[in-house]
């Protein structure tokens, strides 16, 4: 399993074309426009998260994400000192400063987050939260690290959902409907009620990618589910007991293993690694003491200019 994950991570550049396009310079304006469009006052935290989530794997996105994640953990509420809001955490009332994220508010209220808290940057999907606003029947969902508390919010954390999950060897599965149905037969119980779409904190067209999966369109399911952060809220509300997020992950794995064109620069790099290109540096890292290692980590260059990526690879054309 661990081996497979590593292989998977190595192939991430060969992702669906749409996602690859998003990372290109030319698409930046589009990303910004999307973020601006989503900057509705009712959902103040969304634009920040969407901007990151739109480009989750490229180094540029990662650097940006780290900056924003750091910003998200800064103490908030300084803009309106003293103003407090009432929230209800699993039914119990707390007063917390206005402007905190749900996650910070929980900590302000004295809770220590052992589970249901991961990256604090809107990536990991650990802090799925169901909430309701005072006087409104509608159940809403959010990532606790990305959503600001509001007066009268009723909150329940869903840090984990015990959804059906299969172990499989993606190398041995064909990218077909059969592979999906063999591993997740409950997929065919989908009634297309669209409840999953309504609870997705990433605004993913969950029902649409399930529809694609149900007709064996692995590439489309992989593409549509690309922004999934595996929070599991879709499965938590599914009347058909399907496990959308695991089906989406299976499709993305099948896509990247069997359908996506191989990233040539990755193959070159793997050959270089095997030939010992970084052996000297690696040996040094193993040799130095912990304090020095921490120092180097803190001062590292996240996007080194001399990343040694060939021209055609950084343009993304190889992957399209």
């Amino acid at each position: 399993m661990a081996k497979m994950k590593r292989k998977e991570a190595g192939r991430r550049p060969s992702r669906p074309a749409k996602a690859a396009r998003r990372t290109k310079g030319a698409a930046k304006a589009k990303v910004a426009a999307r973020a601006a469009r989503r900057a509705a006052p009712a959902r103040p935290a969304r634009p920040v998260r969407r901007a990151q989530a739109a480009r989750p794997t490229r180094p540029a996105g990662a650097a940006e994400a780290l900056r924003r994640a750091a910003a998200a953990t800064e103490p908030a509420g300084e803009t309106a000192p003293g103003k407090m809001v009432e929230i209800y955490v699993m039914g119990k009332r707390y007063e917390v400063p206005e402007g905190l994220t749900i996650q910070k508010a929980l900590e302000y209220a004295g809770m220590k987050l052992l589970r249901g808290c991961g990256c604090r940057g809107g990536f990991c999907g650990a802090c799925g939260t169901v909430f309701r606003k005072e006087g409104d029947y509608k159940l809403r969902v959010a990532l606790a690290c990305q959503t600001v508390v509001e007066q009268g919010m009723h909150l329940a954390q869903i840090p984990f959902y015990p959804a059906h999950k299969k172990n499989y060897n993606v190398d041995e599965l064909p990218p077909t409907l059969e592979a999906i149905v063999q591993n997740y037969p409950e997929t065919m119980k989908c009634l297309q009620c669209n409840t999953c779409r309504k609870v997705c904190p990433q605004d993913i067209e969950v029902m649409q990618y399930m529809a694609a999966a149900m007709r064996g369109d692995v590439a489309k399911a992989a593409d549509l589910s690309f922004d999934c952060i595996m929070c599991g809220l879709c499965a938590s509300r599914c009347p058909g007991e399907t496990v959308q997020y695991h089906v989406g992950l299976l499709c993305r794995r099948l896509y990247s293993r069997h359908i996506a064109p191989r990233a040539k620069h990755l193959e070159r790099r793997l050959k270089e690694l095997a030939a010992g290109k970084f052996d000297k540096e690696m040996a040094e890292l193993v040799r130095i003491d912990l304090a020095e290692l921490k120092k180097r980590y803190d001062s590292r260059d996240i996007e080194p200019e001399d990343a040694d990526e060939p021209e055609e690879d950084s343009s993304g054309e190889v992957n399209d």
């Binding site: 009620c193 669209n194 149900m214 007709r215 064996g216 369109d217």
Partner: protein, 318 residues
């Protein structure tokens, strides 16, 4: 003219020859079939529980999406036609149900889309006479029996497709494109339908949890009984067709196609004198008649258990 088209899942997987031949023949006849936006599975079967509103969510959403393209939607899969048309009937005749569903799916729909089978579309929007004038190949040597099955005919009150006991629409089209159409009393018999996918649910739950071979054994038992029933149903239809001297059975339903086609191996094992007969879609013959490239529409051994290519090669002439 552009018109909304609902292909359905099977036409994108097992029945691509049906999908391609529908779109291409429509184009030759001057119509562009536009796939309606964001279509999903229709549900495949229409729920017989009168209060099962949830099962109507998918087909009504599909109809609401079809409305964005126009006031008509064409489909050719008999299963999809059955589900969409009955769902439409259900919400047209029950305002409360319509309101409940549109509230749930958060979409506007007032029942104002007409669901058309491609046969109805060809008859009413194009005209069989007009099609006859465009025929480019001679299919006169080809002796065919049209087979309608159940899903596009019944219940007649809701579908209003054709006479449910003696339908003639496909007969008329096949005649218009020059086929030698034989009278076929078995045209509305059941092919075995969904028995072909019957499995023992307890065995499947067991195998899903990763347990052993005991359940797998009982699953095979149930499947054998179900497949045996499909073989029997299919044999009645196929044997009648062969005895009439037909070269092939022509139909419109992918499930009937699968059952009638795939059962023949098993039938032949049990009845050594049984003669196999190819099963094709009416749109595939229409494509041939209109002069389209026959190699494009899955009329080969790869897509059939009983290969139709040889008899077509021998009997369809320029």
């Amino acid at each position: 003219m552009e018109i909304g088209y609902f292909p359905g899942c099977t036409l994108k997987t097992k029945a691509t020859g049906l999908d391609d031949s529908v779109k291409d023949t429509a184009r030759v006849l001057g119509h562009e079939l536009i796939e309606i936006p964001d279509w999903t599975c229709c549900g495949a079967t229409f729920s017989l529980a009168a209060d099962n509103v949830m099962a109507l969510a998918a087909p009504v959403r599909i109809l609401a999406n079809a409305r964005k393209v126009g006031d008509k939607v064409v489909t050719v899969c008999a299963g999809c036609y059955n589900v969409l048309k009955r769902a439409n009937y259900a919400v047209r005749h029950d305002e409360e149900k319509l309101k409940k569903i549109t509230d749930f799916i958060e979409a506007e729909y007032v029942g104002d889309v007409t669901v058309l089978h491609y046969l109805e579309f060809l008859k009413n929007e194009v005209g069989f006479d007009a099609i006859a004038k465009l025929v480019k190949r001679n299919l006169g040597e080809l002796k065919v029996v049209p087979y309608y099955g159940c899903q596009m005919l019944r219940p007649h009150k809701e579908l209003m497709f054709d006479d449910p006991e003696a339908p003639m629409m496909m007969d008329e089209l096949l005649r218009a494109i020059g086929c030698n159409v034989l009278e076929f009393p078995h045209k509305v018999e059941c092919c075995g339908a969904f028995l072909t996918v019957c499995t023992d649910p307890s065995a499947r739950a067991g195998s899903a949890a990763g347990s052993g071979a005991a359940e797998a054994g009982s699953e095979a038992g149930v499947e054998d009984v179900a497949r045996g029933a499909v073989s029997e149903c299919s044999f009645t239809i196929l044997d009648a067709a062969v005895r009439r001297g037909a070269d092939m059975v022509v139909l419109t339903c992918p499930l009937c196609q699968f059952n009638l086609d795939s059962a023949q191996e098993e039938i032949q094992k049990q009845r050594s004198n049984f003669k196999k007969i190819p099963i094709v879609y009416f749109t595939q013959l229409l494509a041939l008649a209109l002069g389209l490239d026959g190699s494009k529409y899955a009329l080969d051994a790869k897509h059939h258990y009983v290969d139709p290519s040889e008899v077509l090669k021998a009997k369809v002439t320029a």
